[in-house]
């Protein structure tokens, strides 16, 4: 476990996609999973980030990856009023979470079709 960071800065013609999430994953001895957001640097798009984190945790084995529980600290969420959406932040947070856990998901990772503006999360 460690730090995960993911950034998207993509522009296709007039369409813009921007976001960055940094988070830290630590063992939580009481067996619970907790997620905290930095009060200064992770104030917006929290619901999107939370979805992405939960998605990532659903797609790894708790028994082998975080058997003692997990404490997730989201230290940074960066975005832009027009070029950032909750779904994009969810995608970015999921990838950051996988990186922090040091695992590849069992199924397909979330993906973004920048041409169509679609964010996809495999079941």
């Amino acid at each position: 476990m460690g730090i995960g960071e993911c950034k998207v800065a993509q522009q296709l013609g007039r369409k813009g996609y921007f976001g960055r999430v940094v988070l830290e994953a630590l063992p939580n001895e009481d067996g619970e999973v907790t997620v905290e957001f930095d009060k200064d640097r992770a104030t917006e798009w929290q619901s999107g980030a939370r979805f992405g984190i939960d998605y990532a945790l659903e797609h790894v084995s708790k028994r082998t990856v975080y058997p003692k529980g997990l404490k997730v600290r989201v230290t940074t969420i960066e975005g832009h009023d027009v070029d950032t959406t909750s779904s994009l932040i969810a995608y970015i947070a999921a990838r950051a979470m996988f990186q922090a856990l040091g695992v590849e998901p069992a199924n397909e990772q979330p993906s973004v079709d920048f041409e169509k503006g679609l964010v996809e999360f495999a079941k």
Partner: protein
């Protein structure tokens, strides 16, 4: 209030805007300066904001704090993602109507024309005389 404020958001843009009695970007949609549902990216949104500001007779207060002007002006003027303030500076420089209504600030004061020329934001006046 028809004025708007531009600059680096994480460098107290909101406070800067309040100090010059201007609206900063978080206020622009509610003021109707751009329609978030009708734009696909910041480039379109910023153009809407500037056109509305010109039409309203407003002033753009641009805080250059934290902006590397030389690097900003050397960048691709069509690229806005990840370089929002730099893009806005370039767009204003490239549009005479927008440049005309813009005041530039650094370290809390308005820059002079000579300083703007030195920074490359404003072209020097051509005072060459035709040789007779």
């Amino acid at each position: 209030m028809g004025d708007i404020a531009c600059g680096k958001q994480h460098l107290q843009l909101e406070e800067f805007a309040a100090g010059v009695n201007a609206a900063w970007m978080k206020q622009w949609p509610e003021l109707g300066l751009y329609d978030p549902d009708a734009v696909s990216g910041w480039g379109e949104a910023f153009a809407q904001v500037m056109k509305a500001t010109v039409a309203a007779g407003g002033v753009v207060h641009f805080n250059l704090t934290g902006v590397d002007v030389t690097e900003a002006l050397a960048g691709n003027p069509d690229l806005f993602v990840g370089r929002y303030t730099e893009f806005e500076l370039q767009q204003i420089k490239l549009n005479p109507d927008w440049l005309r209504i813009t005041k530039f600030y650094l370290d809390g004061r308005v820059l002079t024309d000579a300083e703007l020329v030195a920074l490359g934001i404003v072209e020097p006046l051509d005072d060459a005389r035709d040789p007779e």
